[in-house]
Amino acid sequence: MDNSIVISTPPHVKSKRTTKGIMLDVVIALIPAAVMGIVYFRLNAFILILTSVLAAVATEFVYYFIANKGFSDKCRHAGEVCKKWWKQFDFTSIVTGLILALILPPTVKWYEVLIGAIFSIAIVKMVFGGTGKNLVNPAATGRIFMFLSFSITAYSVCKIAPVADGSEIFTGATHLSGFLLDGNKSGHIAWLDLFLGTGVAGCIGETCKAALLLGFIYLAARKVIKWWQPLLYTALSAFLSVCLAAIGSKTFEIGLFLDYALSGGLMFGAIFMATDYVTSPKGVYGQLVYYVALAVLTSVLRYLTKFEVVSFVIMLMNLLVPLIDTYVVRKPFGYKKVKTQKEGK
């Protein structure tokens, strides 16, 4: 036995899974959506994705370098600081950058994405303490920031010729603002088109639902996310939307269920943004409350505002997570309610 022996509290064996590995899984799950985005929207989408990811990673690095004490020391030992940064780099900024690009319409300018990505990482994430400390989803907040800062029209309406047929169809930033909310029947798109994203305008990563589903299956199989969470959110939200539509039109059309579920950023938000570890509740019951609240808010706000609201709803619910975590707590195993005033221990 030599001096390099390690002493610590148990357990002495640990699982192979690391933060880095999990984030890598998320990146892998996002790749199909990104590829389909590039296929549909060509160079525009590619430039946006590249800018966003690079800006996100670069911002994180610069922040790491500047923040905290000893800037001059760090400059002197720049090589070592870089090595140390690389050692603690956990792909979270890549995920943020990728998600941010994928929830933007392809008509957005590259410098807008640049600013949005820097905002997401520097203001939303790093200032609060970096990985694991941010209060709200950086990508969702970055999108909202861009949406409010630059021309709103670019984010709500986009007219772009999709690859499938050359014709220009009227849709919003998503299919949602076209048919479902304005009641413009001519904007109805076949379910298969919606599912594959052919002939549908929308955000880069949100159009091809097949790619999203692939990512979902991968994440669920790798147990990165719980399979029921996106399902609960999507299904409940779509069902409530159908109900709300029935209030307006006095006809209950369950056939619209798929339209609501497949349109807009709902699926993307449910799979990749709402399930973000940092900003979702930790306990099982808390998660249940969180996803139900998300679904209710999404459908109600969609109905009232006629806008795509998923990012807003996710950011709003993120802010309530600490409250949920404090008040929705699972009782320990073997807990019995004590009849007297005394709390059971």
């Binding site: 390690v6 610590s8 357990p11 400390k133 195993f333």
Partner: protein, 521 residues
């Protein structure tokens, strides 16, 4: 009886068992040590009081220290010879313990109690107490207290789960001494006055399940291969469907749980009059040359055990300059591959700092882990992924405890994390992708809360600002030092653990005393 499946339980983790390292090896008997260092605190509770003096001759199995109070157990000489010293030494857990040193004379003279034939319940209870039998699952709770429950019980559960990875000693014992275990279980059942005996065995030991299906009065229950299935509360739930309340004893739910090794010890004590001074333990891990299951006497030096198993595995470091060296021998230097030495199981055991510690009758394993197995990685920031909460068999929130205790707010930590219900199984820290030291935070919080509830005369308050993980320090010239994290446990944590144990024990002792007084009245 035909084996049945246990109730499903949705929590816990799947650990790679690594049991194949040692489970194929028949148990061997470790030769008698030349000198035995026998600790007086071999069970949960107060240390025993020495009844021998320096220079006295003792025989194997002779009483050398008497139990002090209700929660304590007798200690016996594990070899025959002469008592050369009674002194204080630092034990495996870093606390000071009193040891009786016996120098062997090699005569192997035995001094057992008379065997019992067809004993009555009272006789069995007395024998269990006299023979110093403790729970051999790891905690070392005196068995005499367990067989005299305060409430009516109707079921005896034998714990053959052995859910800890690496350990195979119970597995071997169940295969090789099935009859003795069954008889021991019947003795315990008789002492308790119950006739329902259940044995819980994990599904990865089908051979053991088959062995126990032969008996008509023992019901084998197949447990899912899941950690921690051997935890008392979960074993009771899975086999009988009863839940044990928090802070309650299994007897309150009408159940008594005993380890299979305890049942074996009871059988030996009743039929042969043999006191508990040796036990079967597993030596395993990829760092040891020949993994083995051994019968080891209490007080054997860990170094002797490791040497008996072929010693440490070494890895060869080949020198870079091949041009100058000609023979292979000059080329290579050997370095130990062992990174961590663990006494007990890898999930709940104690990391040893040195081989100069001595086994107790509760030591269930010696594991030599290599760097690859020991996974001593630096913790990264918590992601709030909630995997620890999902894995927690007690449905707690370990991340809340860790978060608030790191900030020094132990009260909130205990409240939100429900820390006092924690069984410290280690599932949360095992699963944590950020490798956070959760168990350390939990223990710190527990120690703080307990020291506040029942301040001990010599209790030191836990450091309010105590951070759970040491940060990476910078040297004077600003360079970043690569240093393995968690090389040393915080002294305060170590101390508080000892205090914690004592505080808990004193509480139980007082309760038992009160009960006894009531009964007398």
């Amino acid at each position: 009886m035909k084996a049945i499946k246990g109730k499903p339980f949705f929590a816990g983790i799947h650990v790679r068992g690594k049991k194949s390292l040692a489970c194929g090896h028949r148990t061997e008997i470790m030769p008698e040590p030349a000198e035995a260092y026998i600790s007086l605190s071999q069970s949960l509770g107060k240390p025993a009081v020495a009844v021998v003096v320096k220079g006295q001759k003792v025989k194997e199995g002779e009483l050398i220290a008497k139990a002090d109070g209700a929660i304590s157990s007798n200690v016996f000489a594990s070899i025959s010879g002469e008592v050369t010293d009674v002194r204080q030494l630092t034990g495996a857990n870093g606390c000071s313990e009193t040891y009786i040193v016996i120098k062997g004379d090699g005569t192997c003279e035995k001094a057992y109690l008379p065997p019992l034939n067809g004993p009555s319940a009272e006789e069995i209870k007395a024998r269990i107490k006299d023979c110093g039998i403790v729970g051999l699952g790891g905690a070392g709770f005196p068995a005499a207290v367990k067989v005299a429950p305060r409430t009516a019980v109707d079921t005896l559960i034998l714990n053959g789960a052995e859910c800890e990875p690496y350990l195979t000693c119970d597995h071997r014992l169940m295969l090789e001494n099935t009859d003795e275990i069954a008889r021991g279980a019947r003795y315990i059942a008789k002492a308790l006055g119950v006739d329902k005996i259940i044995i819980g065995i994990e599904a990865n030991k089908p051979d053991c399940i088959e062995m126990f299906e032969r008996y008509d009065d023992i019901q084998p229950v197949i447990l899912k291969k899941q950690y921690p299935m051997g935890s008392e509360k979960h074993l009771i739930y899975v086999t009988t469907g009863r839940k044990v309340g928090i802070g309650k004893l299994p007897a309150d739910s009408g159940v008594v749980v005993q380890n299979v090794a305890t049942a074996f010890a009871v059988c030996e004590a009743v039929e042969k009059g043999k006191p508990l001074y040796e036990r079967i333990l597993t030596v395993s891990g990829e760092g040891v040359k020949q993994p083995k299951n051994l019968w080891v006497r209490a007080g054997t030096c860990v170094k002797d055990i490791v040497d008996f198993c072929g010693g440490e595995v070494t890895e060869q470091i080949i020198k870079k300059d091949l041009q100058t060296a000609e023979t292979d021998d000059e080329n290579q230097t050997e370095k130990s591959a062992v990174k961590k030495v663990v006494q007990g199981g890898p999930m709940t055991g104690l990391a040893l700092a040195t081989y100069d510690v001595y086994t107790h009758k509760t030591t269930s394993g010696i594991l030599l882990l290599t760097k690859k197995e020991a996974a001593a990685e630096e913790p990264t920031p918590c992601l709030n992924c909630g995997m620890c909460a999902d894995a927690c068999p007690m449905h707690l929130m370990p991340m809340q405890t860790a978060f608030y205790s790191a900030a020094g707010d132990f009260d909130t930590a205990a409240k939100l994390g429900n820390t006092l219900a924690c069984i410290e199984c280690g599932a949360c820290e095992f699963i944590c992708p950020a490798k956070r030291p959760l168990i350390q935070a939990i223990r710190k919080t527990k120690a703080y809360v307990r020291s506040k509830e029942a301040p001990l005369p010599d209790a030191k308050p836990v450091d309010q600002k105590g951070r759970s993980a040491p940060t990476v320090p910078l040297t004077e010239d600003g360079k970043i030092v690569e240093k393995p994290v968690m090389q040393k446990i915080d002294e305060s944590v170590k101390n508080s653990e000892g205090e914690l144990k004592n505080a808990a024990v004193e509480k139980i002792t007082e309760e038992v005393k009160k009960q006894a007084e009531k009964e007398e009245k």
